[in-house]
């Protein structure tokens, strides 16, 4: 009799709705705070936001970021101000997507997309260079040949979470604040967060 009771489970499941997803043809909506691969943002005039300050590299617990700063030439500056990041590399064999670089960045230069499907076959592809990380003229992440893109992955890349409330406004005390002047990925301040 015991062998029939096992079939009972099978019969019961046959009439329930299916939960199998057809990944990668269909993708689930990522949570809002999902941490994917990074992008380096630009201002609307095309200037790079990164100033090469190495705070992201300093805070990185996996030591996967390598940055070198250099003097901006006054005639053709890369970023506003004196300094720009002339080398910027992230090693995705080491990155743990903790997002601390994003929090540390003083200029909102580095943010994370929802992209996580990149199957590189060599080290050189795993180490993203500044050219690969920089957003295109539309402010969207550049697609690399080894990344699986099915659309929508770059929709929420610009948003940036501040670790502290916007100063001076008592209403936001203790609340996480988001910004994103490119116009997408921005959300309302979250309630109930204590810092």
């Amino acid at each position: 009799m015991a062998r029939f009771s096992g079939f009972g489970v099978t019969f019961k499941q046959m009439f329930k709705p299916r939960i199998t997803g057809f990944y990668p043809k269909e993708k689930r909506e990522k949570p809002e705070r999902f941490h994917g691969r990074h992008v380096l943002n630009r201002y609307e005039d095309g200037m790079e936001k990164c100033i090469g300050c190495e705070l992201c590299a300093g805070v990185c617990p996996a030591k996967c970021i390598y940055v070198r700063g250099a003097d901006n030439s006054p005639d053709s500056p890369v970023s506003p101000g004196e300094r720009f990041g002339f080398v910027y590399e992230i090693n995705y064999l080491r990155c743990i997507h903790c997002d601390m670089c994003v929090e540390a960045c003083p200029t909102e230069a580095i943010t994370e997309t929802k992209l996580f499907e990149f199957s590189f076959a060599n080290r050189a592809d795993a180490i993203y260079t500044k050219e690969e990380l920089l957003v295109d003229d539309e402010g969207r992440a550049k697609r690399q040949p080894w990344e699986l893109w099915l659309g929508g992955e770059d929709d929420k890349t610009s948003a940036w979470m501040r670790a502290t409330s916007s100063s001076g406004d008592a209403d936001y005390e203790g609340r996480v604040n988001w910004s994103g002047e490119l116009g997408f990925g921005v959300r309302e301040p979250e309630q109930g967060q204590s810092l």
């Binding site: 300050c53 070198r68 003097d71 300094r83 200029t107 001076g168």
Partner: protein
């Protein structure tokens, strides 16, 4: 210096402490573990009380006095942590930050900034300032090396006070008032100080940044090692820092007996030469007339073969070694052992014809740099210290200006310290001996009851005059009672090289061939018996075809030897030339074998400065390519000549030196590791100067200090971290010594080897009369300038631009006598050759003398000097 001040008791934050009366409150607090925040106060400068950060409460005193200008009195009760003090600190910081741009992520100081640290530790935590800040053009260059960001400046006046008080180059000062107050240079007069890099180091914010370091790294990705600078023979202590296997900066470390934390710009920025493009990466041998890269075994075999061939055909005297004063002591010792113990030649000289004979260097009673401070008088008979040994210039200047030590200047022309001299004896170049005879008479009124030794800074003032007159003068000065000598040789480790036997007539440890023969035959197996040739003698012999193998160790002889024609003839005439260097120099291009060597920063070891102080140099980066340290090259060559040194590490070599070289007795690897400020030789005379405790570093608020404490520091808790000494206390030392004596051979003090007497110069010197100058000739004085065509400057992009233009400076009366305009070119001829040079009038140059710096430009002094002559007289002709 002995402190004889009365001791008083002060209470700071409820803790009683003893201090000498009249000491500054801020220093007393710091020495006893209480940190009072400060920006303008610096240990080596006079207090000004400008930043108001160190305000404290003193019981019974109205208001709040600044701790940096208040002196302690008996029974003083001080509070540095009360609510009132906290409020004052908050206020001061809030005001300082009103105009400070807070561009910390871009700023070079961010991460090691006193303003950041003290704002975090003592500041209000929040800013109430929402208005627009002050704006200036960012950054403006105030010299070739230093950039000024006026927005970040907090007007502490450390830089201007350094330039004025310490360096004596008052070229920067404050201009404007109030919110517009800023550091300015005088119009048309840039901040061309040789010490400008120190202002960057003392700046408590990022207002002053150094061009070579700018944006190269951030403080948290630097790693540091304490080391001694080997650019010149002062041996300043510094913290050498690198990022990603690349040297990025050298910071001065405050060492009481040597550099007080200061560095010259050449030493500070010279690290860039390590990364020069033209560094040799692989060994090379000559094939079909040109140098081609090859493997190490191939090159070493070829080098050993060349030595062996000359040894077999013509005997050991046919082999010569020149150079070796740029490496470490360990390098020098093994080169000496290779040449004298293995090959058996005494034709070895570390000096390149521009120094003094080794007898004078080793045989005179030595002075130390701190002796300058306590001297009855200082006699300057030597090079322009500001140009050749800049930090020694700072020490002599300090002794004179701050401590009132009189200076007697014996020189041919005005130099950097002339304006501080209390008395001056001027002489023609080459007539040092007759000037030295006037010294006793000139000295008497200066000393005027002052006690202490008379310190003589002795050296070759110029390379156009031979060493002979200086030696004669030294013999005369030595007769004056209570004189001690600081022999001002220039090259990094020249003193260590001579101490360790890289000089004709000497064996390692300051002993002559005769005195040390027995000892070194026992230690090495053999030692040369006949005194060999010095550098000039070697080149003469080589040009006559008497040198079968010439070994050039790290020397740029064509640029550094005073007589270029002789060098070229010597290198051309030598049968086989082996060159060990970091770059392929002109002489190296003619070599038969070229062996690439590692340089300062890439190897560990010890160096000896001009006092005879041995200190450790650190290894910070790995060399790119395949260069080897000198001591390994010497070992490999010795192995191929049939002697296995069996010395693998630097420490093993140090222990062997301590065992074998008499002057180095007891100075073994362990002592060198422990001695914080180095070991002055001979140890018997300077044992009480040894400091065996580690440097005391307060844990908090010192992130800008070059030497960083290990382990995490904590805010609020102010305490000193004292690292345990490497060795145990004396009791266990004795136990260890007993244990050692039980061993068959006691290696600790060389017992078991025959004794050798240390060399003392008898000073019996028959001075040769200097030839007279005829009235139509000018006598050449060719000193050096700090920035010259030497490898360090030529390979350092930041310094290369500072090499001065070549010109012959004469008294204006000579210009009118020749009948040309100021700045016009003339033909200059000597017995050796002639050149076309521009002529400049300078009223500071005495009539009859012509001044031209050595080693500047493609052609120069080296083409005019004949080293066989005592002096160089020249004639001027118009080109018209």
């Amino acid at each position: 210096m002995k402190d004889e001040r009365e001791i008083v008791t002060v209470t700071i934050d409820g803790i009683e402490m003893q201090a000498p009366k009249g000491e500054l409150l801020i220093r007393v607090a710091q020495d006893n573990g209480t940190f009072v925040p400060r920006f303008c106060w610096h240990e080596r400068m006079k207090p000004v009380g400008m930043c108001r950060m160190c305000l404290v409460e003193v019981e019974g005193v109205r208001g709040m006095p600044p701790a940096c200008t208040t002196t302690v009195t008996d029974g003083m009760v001080v509070n540095t942590k009360s609510e009132t003090v906290k409020k004052a600190q908050d206020g001061v910081l809030e005001f300082l930050l009103i105009n400070h741009p807070l561009d910390c992520p871009v700023c070079d100081r961010g991460g090691e900034c006193p303003l950041q640290d003290q704002t975090l530790a003592f500041g209000p935590g929040e800013s109430r300032y929402v208005e627009e800040k002050r704006h200036f053009e960012k950054p403006i260059p105030i010299s070739e090396l230093v950039l000024l960001d006026r927005e970040r400046c907090i007007q502490c006046s450390r830089c201007t006070r350094f330039a004025d008080e310490i360096a004596g180059d008052r070229l920067i000062d404050f201009g404007e008032r109030g919110g517009e107050m800023q550091v300015i240079t005088y119009p048309d007069d840039p901040f061309t100080s040789y010490f400008s890099g120190n202002t960057v180091q003392v700046c408590p914010v990022g207002a002053l940044t150094a061009k070579p370091y700018r944006f190269r790294a951030r403080p948290w990705d630097l790693s540091a090692v304490e080391t001694s600078c080997q650019t010149c023979s002062v041996g300043c202590r510094g913290s050498l820092e690198s990022s990603s296997n690349e040297l990025v900066r050298l910071l001065g470390v405050d060492v009481e007996p040597v550099n007080h934390g200061w560095l010259c710009d050449k030493g500070r920025f010279g690290y860039e030469a390590t990364h020069a493009e033209d560094r040799a990466r692989n060994p090379m041998i000559r094939r079909d007339g040109s140098l081609v890269e090859c493997s190490w075994p191939e090159a070493l075999d070829a080098a050993a073969e060349g030595i062996k061939r000359s040894l077999d055909l013509h005997g050991p005297a046919s082999i010569a070694m020149v150079g070796g004063s740029r490496g470490t002591n360990e390098d020098a010792y093994l080169w000496a052992r290779l040449a004298k113990g293995v090959i058996g030649t005494d034709n070895v000289d570390a000096q390149i014809g521009d120094g003094l004979p080794a007898e004078v260097v080793l045989g005179l009673p030595g002075a130390t740099i701190p002796d300058l401070d306590e001297a009855a008088a200082i006699i300057l008979l030597g090079p322009d210290l500001k140009e050749e040994l800049p930090v020694l210039y700072l020490r002599v200047r300090r002794a004179c200006v701050d401590l009132g030590v009189p200076i007697l200047d014996v020189s041919a022309v005005d130099h950097g310290l002339s304006k501080y001299a209390s008395a001056t004896i001027r002489h023609l170049p080459g007539e040092q001996a007759s000037a030295a005879r006037e010294i006793s008479a000139a000295l008497a009124p200066l000393i005027d009851g002052r006690s202490g030794p008379i310190v003589v800074v002795l050296g070759r003032s110029d390379v156009a005059t031979s060493a002979e007159p200086t030696v004669a003068a030294a013999a005369i000065i030595r007769e004056i009672p209570n004189t001690r000598f600081l022999v001002a040789l220039r090259r990094g480790n020249v003193r260590g090289a001579i101490d360790l036997g890289l000089a004709p007539g000497f064996l390692p440890g300051r002993v002559t061939l005769d005195a040390g023969a027995e000892r070194f035959v026992a230690a090495w197996g053999s030692a040369p018996a006949e005194v060999g040739l010095d550098t000039a003698g070697i080149f003469n012999a080589a040009s006559e075809g008497r040198i079968g193998a010439l070994i050039l160790v790290g020397a740029d002889i064509v640029n550094d030897f005073p007589d270029r024609r002789l060098v070229r003839a010597g290198v051309g005439g030598a049968g086989f030339v082996i060159c060990i260097n970091a770059t392929v120099t002109e002489a190296a291009a003619d070599a038969d074998v070229f062996l690439p060597a590692t340089v300062w920063g890439e190897k560990a070891g010890t160096t000896t400065n001009l006092e005879g102080r041995i200190s450790r140099v650190g290894r910070k980066i790995a060399a790119v390519g395949n260069p080897m340290p000198d001591f390994r090259i010497a070992s490999e060559l010795a192995l191929r000549l049939g002697t296995d040194f069996d010395l693998e590490t630097v420490e093993e070599i140090q222990d062997e030196i301590a065992r074998v070289a008499p002057a180095f007795a007891e100075v073994d690897a362990q002592l060198l590791k422990r001695a914080r400020d180095g070991v002055v030789l001979p140890l018997a005379l300077h044992r009480d100067e040894l400091v065996l405790e580690p440097r005391r570093i307060p844990v908090i608020d010192f992130s800008w200090e070059p030497i960083k404490p290990e382990g995490p520091g904590e805010f609020e808790v102010v305490e000193f971290e004292v690292v345990e000494p490497v060795l145990e206390a004396d009791a266990s030392d004795e136990a260890a010594a007993e244990e050692e004596s039980a061993l068959p051979v006691d290696i600790s003090n060389g017992a078991g080897l025959p004794d050798a007497q240390l060399f003392v110069w008898s000073a019996q010197h028959a001075a040769q009369p200097t030839p007279g100058r005829d009235n139509y000739a000018l006598r050449l004085s060719a000193g050096r300038s700090l920035y010259d065509n030497g490898r360090t400057v030529a390979s350092t992009p930041a310094l290369r631009a500072l090499i001065p233009a070549q010109t012959l400076r004469v008294n204006p009366s000579e210009i009118s006598r020749v009948g040309v305009a100021d700045g016009e070119s003339v033909r200059v001829s000597t017995a050796r050759g002639s050149l076309v040079l521009s002529l400049t009038g300078d009223a500071n140059v005495p009539a009859g003398v012509a001044v031209m710096p050595f080693n500047i430009g493609e052609t120069g002094v080296g083409d005019l000097v004949d080293v066989s002559l005592v002096v160089t007289d020249l004639r001027l002709e118009t080109l018209r």
